[in-house]
Symmetry: D2
Subunit: 262 residues, 4 copies
């Protein structure tokens, strides 16, 4: 396995980079937290329920700091960033990694979907992205540019539904499209100010680390062993985006497994 690394700036990066991952689970968040910690960053993870075993393991094994936060609440998000600044310093890398779907909304047609569930999905996903992006932008503007010319990086994890409105998925299509639109607006606004904004739709099911430590990255009924996006590799792309020089910033990167149909 290979990783992106930074030979000559590693020591500087080790001391300066503060990463905040909003949304915490056994997939992308954990992979990002592990990789960022290994690369020498100080890492914070915020979640509604920060006591999940998977997050406790991140703290224990990688020194990741955990925060409780309902990211759809403006007051809570403001407090989160204040606490992270106090504990670790101003973030230079913020990942919004919240899917936001209320369980009951899955697979519902436009006729069946509960309005309240659709609304909560929009708030959990899109509105929380706005709140997190806003706080990140406010703080990063005052950062000194790092060796790649960036004051900071804001990455929005997104889904296939940001690229295409699928049937029986109206509420999620709204939320993912909203997040993509926000990211694009922020990119046009903040990049000339030295803040790198990226939208990363994962056009696939995402594998994860199971409780026994093994990886789930095969879909039921298939024979191919890596037909789910491996979150460790997603995390590598996030790190590469963070380290990309500002003369060549990518705004959107769609990631999908080799066997995915699109």
């Amino acid at each position: 396995m290979y990783i992106a690394c930074s030979n000559d700036s590693l020591i500087g990066a080790q001391n300066m980079d503060v990463a905040l991952i909003v949304g915490g689970g056994p997939g992308i968040s954990s992979s990002c937290a592990r990789l960022f910690a290994k690369e020498g960053m100080r890492v914070a993870v915020a979640a509604r329920t920060p006591d999940k075993p998977v997050l406790q393991a991140l703290e224990k094994e990688h020194g990741v700091r955990r925060y409780a936060c309902d990211a759809s609440d403006p007051v809570a998000v403001e407090r989160l960033f204040r606490d992270v600044v106090r504990d670790l310093g101003t973030p230079t890398l913020v990942v919004h990694n919240i899917d936001g779907r209320v369980p009951g909304i899955f697979g519902k047609t436009i006729v069946e979907a509960e309005p309240a569930m659709a609304f909560d999905t929009l708030r959990n996903s899109a509105h929380s992205a706005f709140l997190v992006g806003q706080q990140a932008a406010r703080l990063m503007r005052a950062n000194e540019p790092s060796s790649n010319g960036a004051k900071g990086t804001i990455i929005f994890t997104n889904a296939s539904a940001a690229l295409k409105g699928f049937p029986s998925s109206g509420a999620f299509a709204m939320a993912c499209h909203a997040k993509a639109g926000l990211a694009e607006s922020m990119a046009r606004e903040l990049m000339p100010q030295g803040i790198h904004v990226a939208n990363v739709p994962i056009d696939a099911a995402i594998g994860w680390t199971q409780e026994d430590g093994s990886r789930a990255h095969r879909r039921a009924g298939t024979t191919v062993d890596d037909n789910m996006a491996d979150p460790d590799h997603i995390a590598e792309t996030y790190l590469q985006l963070h380290r990309q020089h500002r003369s060549t910033w990518a705004f959107e990167v769609v990631l999908r497994p080799w066997v995915e149909r699109w």
Copy 2:
């Protein structure tokens, strides 16, 4: 001025078509109401403040029925459709024509925008589109197909911000992208059920009828007389979409004036 018309189905259409326009002002809503009424449809317009003079004039001159409705409220939207069905019959053409921006949000950077205003913009625009689209879909499914094979048409008026996330416009980019995603999901879901769904981003400033009856369709500081989208012509496109045969449905039509830069 030319209009799309239907020589051989006009009489049928006159008796059967019920149009509901949600969102009411002097621009697209008024133009649609006038054109649809002239074409023989029974027309309803819903607005938060249905007593605006421009809507009263539609009633007086074109027999348009007015309804009070906060389209971001699920209960109100359900009642609106119930009332329209009772008064005019089941809608066969529903236009969601709500911009939704809270005044204070205009031109705000991501750092300046008030979270509550961003949230209200999302609710006013995107969530109301969900509510209106849902009620329309529920009712139209039971319609008999008309001569063009459609059980009904649902049109979402949208804006440039659905096509591109502009700087200092994050909240509106979210709302417009969300509406586009919803429309696309609904199109994929409902078209095979015989309901035509369309997203129509107007990539321009929109002209309107001024109080003295004259048209505003020139931007300040310009010399070209038709460099704003004329809502009467937008309404014609909506009518053409409604009458389009189901063997050739357009989902998205972007309208812009000839001199617009894009």
Copy 3:
């Protein structure tokens, strides 16, 4: 069946509109020729083999003028336009309706496709679009604007392959994407000069009129009767685009049957 019509400008239009359709067969070209002739235009159709029975029938029944032209040859295209101007007047509506695929290229993988066939497909489709668009633009610039403010309309028929690069279809993906890129460049350049340019990808199989006069618009193995795009309805959209007022021009309209998956 309904048609787009122009009540108050019909007589003017009858005398002034000259339509040239490049590419001629039993589908879109024939439907356009018939509709445009019925609407009072003087109509020309150009094809490599203008003696096809279907084109002879257009001449006999609708007064359509036939021209022989290899549209991928610059000299031939220049002569075509000169002849049409001489015979019918300067075109106000030009439709490029050439698929361009060399038969042997269908379904070939990137590894199998003959380079010469790929190249011919590119020339037949994309390069001919350039040549036809160029001559149309040269002539239309001198036209007087009609009642909708347009000096002329140039429409490129396109295919699903303009929207998406399908596997085993590399050469056609190149040709269709090229045509779309050309159309977009021409639209940005020519619209502010009063010439309406449109790209119309038909995202479906297209029905046609069979020799016995019946319509083929059902795919093998299906039960739905209108699951192919009906070229008569495509022609209506072309006419609507031609008559669209310049304050609200659509550049791209994707047409697909209601039951199409996308």
Copy 4:
């Protein structure tokens, strides 16, 4: 400066990777050749005039092998790949880096552009991409997958004109769109066969190394020092794409400088 690197597979990679860059100049091609050579790959560069000093320097300083090839000629491209296989081994990374514009075509309107120049641009750029992609695909299919699961990587350098058809740029819009369509078709076809295909539009002017060894990366009349895409950083992204694990392949990455307007 940071680079993507592969700690545990470096020695294997050193011995196995063969890179072929088609199109050679002082910008992206040179940067790629240098970086790939430093990473231990055997590197070939093909150009119409392989005797340019900049390419001779690559040979002298980095052991890059030079080949003469008109990439728009099927026979020449077939011979190129045969020669590279004979000299260096089967390529695992192929970069198509040809702009293709005939000098006289720059800035020409649709009315002014010479048909022959438009045609040559299409052939130089799009058709050569087809030929190079085809040979690469033929050979790579027989490769053993490397540690990231890929049999090889094919990267097409593209331009803003692939994303948007600009006015007075019709011929280039055609060529770039065609190349993008080809890349997308090849990606859908070849990714499930283990070959990574990527389209990389550089949405900016590109800096380059000047004869005195200094870098040009400031546009005339600007003050910002890195407002042109730095080809060394573009090369890093290419390397990252080549090393990306097949569970998370990116097809398209648009690169633009932080201050670029889009």
